[in-house]
């Protein structure tokens, strides 16, 4: 009798224990499918498994994530959302408005995300005050990369203003070197455009124009100056740039065919993969002007049913923002950790410069979202701006016309 009771009690307690500690499961939809990216995700998978979780990977190929978003749309419409999805910027809020995101505030508060993340990046992870996403990394977008040997041979310093850049480019052009390596795809035109805009409009002007969509700033003389500088830059690009991929432009800088490239820090990955050393073979500097444009990858957490899935979601969120993952992932990916308290000893000089600038910009309210990479605006508005930028860059449209088109295009996209 006694043994019977003990047995029943222990059996019961086991049941209670297992249901309380339901094995965490997570189904993760992402589009990190290239070599370095896949390696980075594997780090997270391993950590997740070490904590007793079971991970279902759902990679959807296609760098821009269009295919992944289509897959996500189908899953959400069929009422079967994945646990976590690689999403970024205002797209997180757009999905929140569809009423399908989960609240992970308990994890965020337990791990003190509020203090370890820069305020403007934390802002992207919140949906009406609750935490709904976890940041993975920070890519800086407004970088200038240069071939050190070419600059040395022509006696050129890394430019710190757009006028200096133009003077350097004129000199290079006379020496028969392509000043600016560029790929003529709409998003690359937009990447240069926002770097120029930040330099000329300044952090406040940039925020007014590309976050608030303030009509006065969009049609200001400063904006005309931005388009004028774009026209000048167009003159520094070789005639064969149309449709070129960004990494081909990077290799032009690498082999000395061109001097500069304006591109996010994923270009660094190309230099590093080719065995180049920052500071010796290639130089990195922030694009002329104050401020820091970021592109933050993150995981948005979707509303799921079941204790195991909820446990998986919480574990995933905790790990993603954890010290170890932030370090290992970003070493692989070439970006920098989103949290500011990770030791950067193993990172290269460009990454450390990036982290310092991020901290400084965060303190001076100059840490700004990249519009070209979907951080500042929703798809329709960002697309309307890119249409104007690329149409202007690839034709002889006047800057005044471009500014008018910009205002009209944005009004039409609402």
């Amino acid at each position: 009798m006694n043994t019977y009771v003990t047995g029943a009690v222990s059996a019961l307690s086991m049941i209670v224990a297992t249901s309380a500690l339901a094995e965490p499961t997570a189904e993760v939809l992402h589009y990190w499918t290239s070599g370095g990216e896949a390696k980075s995700v594997a780090v997270l998978q391993k950590e997740f498994a070490d904590k007793g979780g079971s991970w279902t990977d759902m990679p959807v190929a296609g760098g821009g994530g269009d295919a992944a978003m289509t897959a996500l749309r189908a899953r959400v419409l069929s009422g079967n959302a994945p646990t976590a999805v690689q999403l970024k910027g205002p797209a997180i809020q757009e999905w929140y408005e569809e009423g399908v995101l989960a609240d992970i505030s308990s994890v965020a508060e337990a791990n003190d995300w509020e203090t370890v993340l820069p305020a403007s990046i934390a802002g992207h992870m919140k949906c009406e005050g609750t935490w709904c996403a976890a940041p993975v990394n920070v890519h800086r977008v407004d970088w200038i990369w240069a071939n050190a040997e070419v600059l040395n041979a022509n006696g050129i310093e890394m430019p710190t203003t757009w006028d200096e850049f133009n003077a350097a480019a004129d000199k290079l052009q006379e020496a028969g070197i392509i000043p600016l390596a560029h790929g003529g795809q709409a998003w690359q035109d937009a990447t240069i455009f926002e770097a120029v805009a930040l330099g000329i409009l300044g952090p406040d002007g940039y925020h007014k124009a590309f976050v608030e969509l303030d009509n006065e700033t969009l049609t200001s003389d400063a904006m005309i100056a931005v388009f004028d500088q774009m026209r000048t830059l167009r003159g520094y690009v070789d005639s064969n740039f149309s449709g070129r991929d960004w990494n081909l432009a990077t290799s032009m800088v690498m082999n000395g065919e061109a001097a500069f490239q304006i591109m996010g820090d994923w270009a660094k990955g190309e230099f590093m993969a080719a065995g180049k050393v920052p500071g010796e073979d290639f130089l990195c500097a922030s694009a002329p002007g104050e401020g820091f444009l970021y592109n933050v990858d993150s995981f948005a957490m979707f509303d799921v049913d079941g204790d195991d899935k909820k446990a998986g979601q919480e574990l995933l969120a905790e790990l993603v923002v954890g010290q170890n993952f932030q370090k290992v992932f970003n070493l692989n990916k070439g970006s920098i950790p989103a949290r500011t308290d990770v030791a950067l000893d193993e990172f290269d000089d460009c990454a450390r410069l990036s982290a310092d600038d991020m901290q400084a910009s965060s303190d001076s309210d100059a840490l700004l979202p990249s519009y070209a990479h979907g951080m500042a605006l929703r798809g329709a508005q960002a697309g309307a701006i890119t249409d104007v930028v690329t149409a202007h860059f690839n034709s002889d449209m006047s800057s005044a016309d471009a500014v008018q088109m910009l205002a009209d295009g944005i009004a039409n996209s609402m």
Partner: protein, 290 residues
Amino acid sequence: MIKWLEENTPKLVLAPSFIAVLIFVYGFIAWTAWVSLTRSRLLPKYEIEGFIQYERLFASPRWETAFGNLFVFGTLFIVIAMVLGLALAILLDQNIRTEGAIRTIYLYPMALSMIVTGTAWKWILNPGLGLEAMVRGWGFENFTFDWLVDPDKAIFTIVLAAIWQSSGFVMALFLAGLRSVDGEIIKAAQVDGIPTWRVYTAIIIPAMAPIFLSAFIVLSHLAVKSFDLVIALTGGGPGYATDLPATYMYAMAFSRGDIGQAASSAMIMMLVVFSIVVPYLYSELRSKDG
């Protein structure tokens, strides 16, 4: 019972595919029309807001370019492919030797996918890599052929590649038509001493009118749905100079989360196809009744 089955088996067998067509073609056309009247963004919404998406569409300079390109591309592509196809067919019809081999060579591009055609022509037309670089390499330093990177001319490179792809197919259609014209009439004309070119212009080509119509229908729907060729050849660029309605719709639906806008552009594309196909169907059905 058996009698009933005998009478209704065809209907029963056809019913599933009929229902599938009804839902997945006409049902979804109706659904797209509905969505095009809403303010759908990321996910479809169903509150009707009127013609707001069409107003946005016609105010968009990018749509203007895309729609204009459809007419430039469509007209040039259809006319040139038909003329070229007819010329090739007439030349092949002169009982030349090795006709089989030549016919295969001209027809073969049709076997390639548009993606392959687009990628191959992208390399051929790239000024730094293809034709221009080659001719300059031969010593003609001033030779320039940079249509691919010139926003005003890039749409013509799409026409070029599409014609290369399709004119062999048009040739095959016309050749079959030429061979089906009654040989007796032609012989009678030859006995009367009528020159060959007159035989073609006055007898053979008019007799081929139905073939022209078929070729026109096939080519025009190829033109309206052109998507893969643009993606492979220019990616819509430089800028958005070579956008077509199909690439515009894709960008709105899948890259920008603007489903309402995509739906309205899809409806306009469908109207263009209808305006070509409906008169054709009408003439076909009427001639059978009469």
